[in-house]
């Protein structure tokens, strides 16, 4: 067995679970998510000589996953980001009170699903994958300033959603129906 594979198996393969979760969140389809993870790992294996041992391998893999998905979506002609929404959000941002304590994990993920996708991505990369702003900027191909502003606005939007969930299922579903 090759040394490259042994090193790759030790460094990259332990992250399959988290990579799949990330892919599954983005694709919402098991087959597509598995396919995305496979292509990500194939590209990672081909480029493994570029990985610096001792650095954050999961962040490196998540970056590749983001690039693979972005290329696929571009090939399919999908628009990824409506950047104008950021300006609208900035000008209409209300004061946000603290989130309720009794929210379940399901409420949390449902609320996250309600905010625009590019805010979801930033929150996941920062809070779940614990990537640095620099790593996130490289993964998404945006400036660090954009990472910071999207993170700030994404969190405020999420908190607003969570308050609706905390106010009860009726308020949350009423909100969803108006979308």
């Amino acid at each position: 067995m090759g040394r490259r594979w042994l090193a790759f198996e030790a460094e990259a393969m332990p992250h399959v679970d988290r990579l799949f979760r990330h892919a599954m969140w983005l694709e919402r389809n098991r087959e597509e998510a598995e396919d995305l993870v496979q292509e990500t790992l194939t590209q990672a294996l081909q480029s493994f000589h570029r990985f610096t041992p001792g650095t954050n391998c999961r962040a490196w893999l998540v970056s590749i996953l983001q690039h693979v998905r972005s290329n696929r979506r571009r090939a399919r002609g999908r628009v990824i980001v409506d950047s104008s929404i950021e300006e609208r959000v900035t000008s209409t941002m209300p004061f946000v009170p603290p989130i309720p304590d009794r929210l379940t994990d399901e409420d949390m993920l449902q609320a996250l699903r309600q905010i625009p996708e590019h805010y979801q991505q930033i929150i996941l990369l920062c809070d779940v994958e614990q990537m640095t702003y620099k790593e996130i900027a490289a993964a998404l191909g945006v400036p660090i300033g954009t990472v910071m502003s999207r993170l700030h606005r994404g969190r405020e939007l999420l908190r607003t959603e969570l308050i609706r969930y905390g106010a009860g299922p009726a308020a949350a579903s009423q909100k969803r129906e108006t979308r």
């Binding site: 090193a7 979760r21 599954m24 993870v37 001792g54 650095t55 809070d127 910071m148 969190r155």
Partner: protein, 258 residues
């Protein structure tokens, strides 16, 4: 610093993305402002809840056999990639050999030995700058936090109980994860025979058996296998005692990290 500034910087503060001076300013403000303190606590709780919800969500969980299936598909690719690389580099290699023969260059030792020797020097540098001088550029983090961020051996290292060593007892002084010259280590600092000793574990191919790597006059470094990872023992005691310590740690450590 005003409340508004703190709220603007709160996310970056929690993500440890600010300069040390700015962090201090925020901490000073938080000491006297219960509202901002509550805001930071709420933000931290929200981040933790999101992370926990995401990593425990049943509908995001992969099939149990996915990892093995992917490994089975990827392993043969490695051979193809290597063969392609060999073909691509054949002319470069031939040219290199011709140059080496003509210019009197020599290839010394195997790639593996020189890689281990380079990593051993980094381990010695980490021991000196972290355990001895507290002089690292980046602050060490808890092993549990390193495990969350980077996976790897860090969580298991937090609970590793060292065996009685041949030449005296090992007293654990500290455990953390630190970075030296870009390389991350899981680091257990011991007191051993009246001096500081380090056990360092990093993500790299392990050696087959413990071996003495360097003796630079200040520190002795022995490499050891640590399950799938590479371990080092760094001490300032003599070479043979350092090697015996690495040999005493190798099996229990590999079993614990496996």
């Amino acid at each position: 610093m005003q409340c508004r500034d703190v709220r603007d910087l709160a996310d970056s503060f929690l993500s440890e993305q600010l300069l040390v001076e700015t962090n201090h300013e925020i901490v000073r403000h938080l000491e006297t402002c219960p509202d901002c303190r509550a805001d930071i606590v709420a933000r931290r709780a929200l981040r933790e809840k999101i992370r926990s919800a995401f990593v425990h969500a049943a509908d995001l969980r992969p099939r149990p056999e996915l990892s093995a299936e992917l490994a089975a598909k990827l392993r043969p690719l490695d051979g193809q990639i290597s063969r392609r690389s060999v073909l691509k580099s054949w002319w470069a290699l031939a040219a290199g050999l011709a140059l080496a023969a003509g210019g009197g260059l020599f290839v010394r030792g195997s790639g593996s030995r020189s890689r281990l020797a380079a990593l051993a020097r980094e381990a010695a540098g980490d021991h000196q700058n972290c355990a001895v001088k507290f002089n690292l550029a980046e602050r060490p983090i808890r092993l549990e936090d390193a495990a969350q961020r980077y996976g790897g051996p860090y969580a298991s290292l937090a609970t590793f109980a060292p065996p009685p060593a041949v030449d005296g007892p090992l007293q654990v002084l500290e455990r953390h994860s630190c970075v030296y010259q870009g390389r991350r280590f899981g680091h257990v600092v011991f007191r051993y025979r009246g001096a500081l000793a380090s056990l360092l574990v990093t993500a790299s191919t392990p050696p087959v058996a413990p071996e003495l790597e360097t003796d630079d006059g200040h520190f002795r470094v022995a490499s050891l296998p640590a399950a799938r990872y590479l371990g080092f023992v760094v001490t300032d005691i003599d070479s043979q005692q350092t090697l015996r310590l690495a040999q005493a740690l190798a099996d229990p450590l590999s079993r614990h990290l496996a």
